[in-house]
């Protein structure tokens, strides 16, 4: 394959207008997932759960693969897998060290199970691959509706517990002293995270979930410490990555996920650079009254 045809398979914008109309559902799905991922990602970062997201997605993949094998609904399968994994982590992993070792144990087990189920499956190979790397192009109207409803339910729940969850995430000791149900919130959040992972897997696949649930929030946190701005930027970044990725992918003949992950990664790199420059200049919001008077 020469460079021209390689580029052609990555970027090709002939008949672009018609193509956009065809993938309208996918665009909406991408937007919904971007919104959800951007919101929930800020808490994933605050609670230091990046590794957990990975563990949950592997079990979600195993669940989906099992559903594929026995001919059940794949969405349901991945939902069961990820919610089980999330609750397990929520119940067992109270301390960070425990959590990481439990995830380390669960993750390869889940992936192994998934591979087992896939090798037993004798259907279309594309179905198998899609679970790992995503299949956003083929979003049907019904699928979109299910996705949107589930996402809205998760987001409403997240908004309902927003303040105490923030308190419990960044300042657990004081939150608990103030009567915030820290433990119940931890389990509740894992449940929401499990559902979010299962939804994202339908679109971006098990291996790329992190690009949606972690990278945008991590990027936002590099450039601001304002809680509100972090949320807004995180959502904006995630939606840019998903919707932008789908639009870029239209012309080419490779899957959407590489576009989404690359966009997401580039946004992160830019944010890191901006954050690094600001840190170097010592811009952190402190009011300097006079150089002669040291701050108390």
């Amino acid at each position: 394959m020469d460079l021209d045809s390689l580029l052609n398979s990555i970027f090709n914008f002939e008949n672009y207008g018609e193509l956009v109309a065809l993938v309208q559902n996918s665009l909406w799905a991408g937007a919904v997932l971007g919104l959800l991922g951007g919101l929930i990602g800020t808490f994933v970062m605050k609670r230091d759960l990046a590794f957990a997201v990975h563990g949950i997605s592997e079990l979600s993949f195993a669940g989906a693969a099992f559903a594929l094998l026995i001919g059940a609904d794949i969405v349901l399968g991945s939902l069961v897998g990820s919610v089980l994994a999330a609750l397990l982590l929520g119940l067992l992993g109270v301390r960070a060290r425990d959590k990481n070792s439990i995830i380390g144990v669960i993750m390869p087990f889940g992936l192994g199970l998934g591979i087992l189920f896939l090798s037993l499956y004798e259907g279309r190979a594309a179905n198998k691959f899609g679970l790992l790397t995503g299949q956003i192009v083929s979003v049907g109207t019904v699928q979109l509706q299910v996705l949107a409803i589930a996402a809205v339910v998760v987001m409403i729940a997240l908004v309902a517990i927003w303040r105490p969850l923030t308190f419990a995430s960044v300042d657990p000791d004081v939150a608990s002293a103030r009567g915030v149900p820290v433990r119940a919130l931890a389990i509740g959040f894992m449940l929401l995270l499990g559902v979010s992972v299962a939804l994202s897997i339908q679109i971006v696949g098990a291996l790329l979930v992190l690009a949606l649930l972690i990278t945008p929030a991590a990027a936002a946190m590099r450039v601001t410490s304002s809680p509100r701005l972090v949320v807004m930027l995180s959502v904006a970044f995630a939606m840019t990555a998903t919707v932008g990725g789908i639009l870029l992918a239209l012309g080419g003949r490779i899957p959407i996920s590489p576009y989404v992950t690359t966009l997401s990664f580039l946004i992160y790199v830019v944010c890191r650079v901006v954050g690094g420059i600001r840190a170097k200049r010592g811009i952190n919001g402190r009011v300097l009254r006079s150089a002669a008077v040291p701050a108390a």
Partner: protein, 279 residues
């Protein structure tokens, strides 16, 4: 000095026959205690003597094995607005998306469900609290980039958000340098006087708060003693509590305790450190 006035007030904290035991190990038992508004009350003792557990009882996070605990006229309960809690200083991750004012904001309405709606009102309250502790200059600085002393000022502001009747402080001076220890304890004492709040101050080191303390609860070896510091912090009383000879030396207003059996966990464990301080 203020005792005549205090005598008329109803106590904010009241313990009756309070005991706490884990299995066969008794931390303390038969504790009767009244803490009055405006009183600066220190809880001292070696590690493992039940100081922090004492705070947890008042916070409603730990049940007594027997006896009763009443706070502001009601049995202790989780999340009581009558309590402000100042924790130990801890390091925040530099990336934590939280500025100084947001940390204080958590004290104002962080326990409520949903999103913050009345932003203007909450912001005014946060500004008030920041001014009160002299933290306005770094209101917008990420908490991960603040010094330990600055963080503890914010902790005081956060704890004062509900206008508490009792300020519970759990080793708030730990890991601060001397200058910040003085600034933060003066701040806590100011609240005690200005707002007539009771302060319950858990510490293993009485010296930074020596000037402010009205009474001391000293816990050691499953027993305790309550009283003004000059009555409790003596060679006789501490030797009796520890069951072995302990020497209390007063060096220019600083109390130095020598010969603690629980040597490995106490601040003044070895003779060199003591000699250094005295010299």
């Amino acid at each position: 000095m203020q005792n005549s006035r205090k005598a008329k007030l109803t106590p904010v904290v009241s313990l009756r026959g309070a005991s706490l035991a884990f299995g066969k190990r008794t931390l303390w038992e038969g504790l009767d205690l009244d803490i009055n508004p405006g009183e600066f009350f220190a809880v001292l003792g070696p590690n493992g003597s039940g100081k922090t557990t004492f705070l947890k009882v008042l916070l409603g996070l730990q049940e007594l094995s027997s006896g009763t605990a009443v706070l502001a006229g009601r049995p202790v309960e989780r999340g009581s607005r009558g309590i402000g809690y100042v924790p130990q200083q801890k390091s925040f991750d530099p990336d934590t998306p939280l500025r100084a004012r947001d940390l204080v904001g958590l004290g104002v309405d962080g326990h409520r469900w949903g999103l913050r709606l009345g932003t203007a009102k909450v912001n005014r309250r946060i500004d008030e609290l920041l001014d009160l502790v002299g933290a306005a200059d770094y209101a917008r600085v990420p908490v991960g980039q603040l010094s330990g002393g600055e963080q503890q000022r914010l902790r005081v502001a956060q704890a004062l958000a509900t206008d508490p009747k009792v300020l519970l402080c759990d080793e708030p001076l730990l890991s601060l340098d001397l200058q910040h220890q003085q600034a933060v304890s003066a701040l806590i004492n100011k609240q005690c006087h200005d707002q007539d709040s009771a302060v319950v101050f858990v510490t293993h080191e009485i010296n930074p708060i020596m000037d402010y303390v009205d009474r001391v609860l000293y816990l050691a070896g499953g027993r305790f003693r309550v009283g003004p510091p000059e009555e409790v912090m003596t060679t006789e009383v501490l030797s009796d509590l520890y069951g072995s000879h302990v020497e209390v030396i007063n060096a220019n207003g600083r109390l130095i305790v020598v010969g603690l059996p629980d040597a490995t966990t106490h601040h003044h464990e070895d003779a060199h450190a003591v000699a250094g301080e005295m010299g």
